[in-house]
């Protein structure tokens, strides 16, 4: 009995004295610490991503504004007043004093089409070709 008692006491004290206890405690502390950090990391990551998204949205808005400004600039460049001024200044052109008509045996040029920037986006046509699986099954000699 006495031996057995001694042996149990020795086992407990062995565990207590074992060098693995601090390791376990430290490990537990690390796990708890990491678990506590996880939401922080997640939150930090979400914040970072949200910030990036916000920045990209701003860049997109900027780019759209720039595109619209350029569209208007193109329209101004194509205005009749500007074309007339350029024709007068750069090419010394003026209204014709006499008009001669020539009969040309060729079809008339096509009508103006609306510039695509002012048209709604065309519906996206997806390729309806066979998939890889369909191609594979195509090789199988099915009846």
């Amino acid at each position: 009995m006495a031996t057995a008692h001694k042996s149990e006491t020795g086992a407990v004290s062995g565990i207590l004295r074992s060098p693995s206890l601090p390791v376990v405690l430290i490990a537990a502390a690390v796990v708890i610490g990491l678990a506590a950090l996880l939401p922080l990391v997640k939150s930090s990551g979400a914040t970072s991503i949200a910030g990036t998204v916000h920045l990209l949205e701003l860049q997109k808005a900027d780019a759209q504004a720039r595109v619209r400004e350029l569209e208007v600039a193109v329209a101004r460049l194509g205005s009749l007043d500007r074309i007339e001024q350029e024709a007068k200044k750069r090419f010394q052109m003026g209204p014709p004093k006499e008009v001669h008509y020539l009969r040309v045996e060729a079809p008339a040029p096509q009508e103006h089409r609306l510039p695509s920037r002012f048209l709604p986006p065309q519906p996206h046509h997806t390729e309806t070709g066979s998939s890889l699986w369909e191609d594979l099954f195509g090789w199988v000699p099915l009846p």
């Binding site: 979400a46 910030g51 619209r68 208007v72 008509y101 020539l102 002012f118």
Partner: protein, 582 residues
Amino acid sequence: MAVGTRGLNTNWRLWAVVAAMALGGVIDVLRLAQLQILDHQQYATEARQTHISQEIVSDRRGALLDRNGYPLAASEDAFNVMVERRAWAQPDEAATAASKISAVTHVSTPEILSLVAGTDVFEVPVASGLDYEQATAVRKLGLPGVRLLESSRRVYPEGNLAAQLLGFVGHDGAGLSGLEADLEPTLGGAKGTLTFERDGLGNQIAVGSRNETPSQPGANVVLTIDRLIQRLAEKELQKAITAHKASGGTVIVVQPKTGQILAMASNPMADLTKPDLSDESKLALFRNRAITDPYEPGSVFKLVTASAALDLGLVSPDTWWYDEGVVNLSGWSIHNWDFSANGSQTVQQILSKSLNTGAAWLSSLCGPDRFYDYVHRFGFGSPTGIGLSGEAAGQVRTPQNDPDNWRAVDMATNSFGQGISVTPLQMAMAVAAIANDGLAMKPQIVKEIAGPGGTQAIPPEPARQVMSADASRTLRQMMGVVVNGINKSFLDVQGYKVGGKTGTANIATGTGVYKPDAYIASFVGIAPLDDPQLAILVKIDEPKDVPWGTVVAAPVFGHIVEASLPYLKVPPTEPVLVSNLP
């Protein structure tokens, strides 16, 4: 005893402290109840106002395009610089920030500072209408309490072209006049809202709460107007007004087969780029006189009278009639414009010489019922339904709608376009009906609507068959003869045969008398004569030198036709001008 007294004193003090603490506690609880329950709404609102910002989000306003897709009115992004008042509490820091903003926006530093100091609201705009480059420069400054608010600005690449027709938009971007107002639901799209949490500088918190109701962009509207013909019409109109010192005028160019309006020009012109809403006289310039201002058309109306008589089979171009130079009706005497008596004349000569007495005779052949039936068939007396607001109906007095005042002499004067009021558009559409084998088309100003949901084309819409195709063709040939009689120095269209009719009308004052020494000179015409592609009305108000439509208005018609038909790829009809390629 002493111990007992001390114990009582101690108890009293203790209870006093407890009572004070209890009272304090009760006061705290009551105050908390006031803050949290009674005044909850007020404080919650204040907190929301401090942290939550809500903006109305507008998407891009649709553009107004000419028939070939060239923008006449479009929108570009503009930016307003907003400054949060509390962020500029320190005067020296505020002055530094204001001077930096001033360098970019060209708004003076004192003005910026006074705007910020003089407001009670959270933030105030200190500069508006910045373009993209300026906005980028302001953003790069990185100033505290400064943010950019995106807005929109209407731009007109063709300047003031078709100003009265297009109209203008207000500061909020909504259309206030013309097509901008009439097509507001189409052009404006749908507004959205953006609710977000903001930081101390007023900027949106990236991970804060955010609720967005997306806006919808407006649709682009393709008009039937051709910018080149519109510009040509405006320039020729301006030239005629300047040359004859006229007070104003109108030109309308119509495609007879479709009823599409290619040009609608009015003068005096309005300034689209800087509309002055405070000045009534300048605001009046935005009235689209082509549809809002009825006038007495004068001799051009003889075409309507001749149409009725020809279509009813009462006369032909060669029918003879004897002109005594005067017609007496209801105690009134009607004379020709030159007080001439021409003797035997044909119906063709009635038109060519523009005889008032002859027109009165033609109307008497028709009789009031049939004459006014044709007047109404041509669309006079009711709006054309073009879809522009403010369109006038004109005034046609008949035995039916004004039995007490109508006299036989009224029909006689109506037959040569006096005592009857029409709008320039009604007159142009009547001529277009003659050009289109008697089929009147509904005037069309919108050709297509290109929105996010797709493109919707507006088809031409026939209104009614006014007269037979045969009678219409006969009248067109008569109009050609009328033009042949006009001096070549006033009307000589190279390469094309054209037809038309001149008019010189008195101007009614509205008090039952005519304005002394004031006239409206007009010309209506079609081209080419055999297969009309254009019907044109030219109306010049109060020319000071000569009143005659032949001298004042016909040259404008000629110049427009000569430039427009080759542009529209209509081959010339007179072969002498055409040579074949070797």
